[in-house]
Symmetry: C2
Subunit: 452 residues, 2 copies
Amino acid sequence: MDIKTYIKENQPRFFEELFSLIRIPSVSSHSHRKAEIQQCAELWKKLLLQAGVDTAEILPTKGNPVVFATKIIDPKLPTVMVYGHYDVMPAEPLELWDSPPFEPEIRDGKVFARGADDDKGQSFLHAKAFEYLIRTNQLKCNVKFILEGEEEIGSPSLEDFCRKNKKMLKCDTILVSDTSMLAADKPSITTGLRGLGYWEIEVTAANRDLHSGIFGGAVANPIMELSKILGQLIDKDGKITIPKFYKDVENVSKKERDLFAQIPLDEEEYKKDLGIKHVFGEKGYSTIERTGIRPTLDICGIWGGYTGEGSKTVLPSKAYAKLSTRLVPNQKFNKIAPLVEKHLKKIAPKHIDIKITRLHGAESYVCPIDSKAYQAAEKAYEKAFGKKPLPVRRGGSIGVIPVFEKVLGIKPILMGFGLESNAIHSPNESFRIDLYEKGIETIVEFYHQYSK
Amino acid sequence: MDIKTYIKENQPRFFEELFSLIRIPSVSSHSHRKAEIQQCAELWKKLLLQAGVDTAEILPTKGNPVVFATKIIDPKLPTVMVYGHYDVMPAEPLELWDSPPFEPEIRDGKVFARGADDDKGQSFLHAKAFEYLIRTNQLKCNVKFILEGEEEIGSPSLEDFCRKNKKMLKCDTILVSDTSMLAADKPSITTGLRGLGYWEIEVTAANRDLHSGIFGGAVANPIMELSKILGQLIDKDGKITIPKFYKDVENVSKKERDLFAQIPLDEEEYKKDLGIKHVFGEKGYSTIERTGIRPTLDICGIWGGYTGEGSKTVLPSKAYAKLSTRLVPNQKFNKIAPLVEKHLKKIAPKHIDIKITRLHGAESYVCPIDSKAYQAAEKAYEKAFGKKPLPVRRGGSIGVIPVFEKVLGIKPILMGFGLESNAIHSPNESFRIDLYEKGIETIVEFYHQYSK
């Protein structure tokens, strides 16, 4: 039976299985979701055993557990390890969802749910491609699965886990489906990821909320001071103003920039889709470059004072923000973090207190395109999509990818099947059903190509 | 029976009555509290009738109803009208209260609750002073009570109500207890109030929340842009940067500023109480001047993006802020509002959309100190507190005070008994029981002095 027929015949069961994963709100950044995290790991173990692995275990880490499964055909054959994550981003703001985030719904040929793409959906493709190869006796290499529960909070426990289990995790290549393609008809393989720094900032003025009429103008306003601090971090040309921030940024050659310019991006279409009149970013770089090869700084959240309906005159005691930076190759998080923190403290005025908490740090990643695994992936996409995939550097960060490189010595291949329009991390996350199917076909073909 | 004995003998009942008012969460800025607003108005009507008025009614306005009550002894005698409000500020953030905001609790000689001071507590003093005068046959003038339910949202319906009911509201003086004194042993009468402008600002970048790794650096961040806009509104010297904002500000003479300098303010104590190392405000003015005679600009609230636990990388679609200005005499809200709005639009960059909603506007107020009513008030404080009260201009705003002046031609006397430490508009609002008692004594004495 060919893979297309297999998918068609088993589609209702596939959805049932995927939906059972999605229905568990395994939100790693919410500490009250520990039970759901465990429940989701257990379901994955069960589904992998049903798909045909020999062994599947839930292994403890310092944080959320790892699901690890193996199918060893012959120790002499090469081993492919599939990495994915079973945790998801918070679904808030809930009121912006058209259907409940943890009750998957099929509309317009798409599955809508938190995790439909990132990464329950994309991890699931691997389980189903593997199942097909097992049931049709076509698997010609060993396979390991590692699914973690802390990717969305920066994989804080996985480096330690990898170091302690190097032998168990030994493999020849690592496949990861946690990225997106340029477009449904423009397949691409992600060959670069940005690193990440994430902080929470707390600004305190007075020790309690005050009446803004009685104290306003005499006591500093923490929201105003936080706004001034944040507003200074990027200048009018979109440049980050933190001293030495750009120091280690890779100097991309004219030739490489010319190649970037060939990546198709219809800027009018892009703006229309986002509902914006103008793009905005670092002067002197194209939109593709700004999101791929240049570091960025974003404020992911801000809050303080009265945020309810109508007016309340208050001079708040505190204001907060969540600040993130995306780092490019050569920029080391451990070097950038103190620069950011020192600068924030330096520009904070003396009439307020500032507290900076480091929440998350990840290194950047670059993948070579001449490896056996990359070339197998390239051929697999070409077969499934009818087009050779473009190598593309993307702006996102997957904390564990550089860890695999550092600890296991393997450069993972990022075979993503998402789309930017899938709205991962946002309300109404979705995944196109036709791309689920093409994803499974591509992965099956990868195994054929890689085992040749 | 003297007033001290009367208070002592009736104290348990007084608390019971006041607490029954406080237990009703009559929050005017929450539209779902309409039932509680009505319930509170009805309770006031009942309490005023019990206190001895001849008539009491609940009268409709365009918004929340007004409670109006009268005691006419002889139409030829002068009439005192007491103004108060039965609505309260929202109690949020609830987690900062040591006891539930709408369940009054007595601790350390104080009543703790939302409205304990502002303005259920202070309005209640008038009802009890009146009750004493009635029950002891000492009232020698006519009395009217007007209690409104929209003070905390800027009294949007009261001007219209006053215009339509000028005859009913006819009186010789208006007493208002909705302000504070310099200190428990430093009585003062508020002779000036600042005006108020209040806006909500909404900044929109993309039409949906985006992945900050994929779009960050290419699409404007609305929190960053809002921060930049807000941060520009006040310069490093604490001056408001909106063009022409200070144009109509009253130029206070050297002599008057010398008088201000005599108002006692222990700045070290002030800073210690607020937990701050430095005061901050407009350069060239003292703390008392900054909060009394100078206009100010505050951000009362801000929100946008991810504000939950831990980290979520998101490039939000929208960010919001609540902006307020306090205006001084001669600054007219209707002239200032377009300046503020025009400037915000002007400094907003083209790559975002800005929406500005006017929520609230009130004029400033100045009260002369040579009127019969002011002098009666002065003597009353002197008798109750043993010290002549200082005339003080305060930073707060009471929207209806300039309306009474404009429509009824009466300059209200602001006989406040609160303290700045009462934390009105903040968590753990309180009122000292000894000042409740002194407040009632002062008001009783006012009637004696005014009727001489």
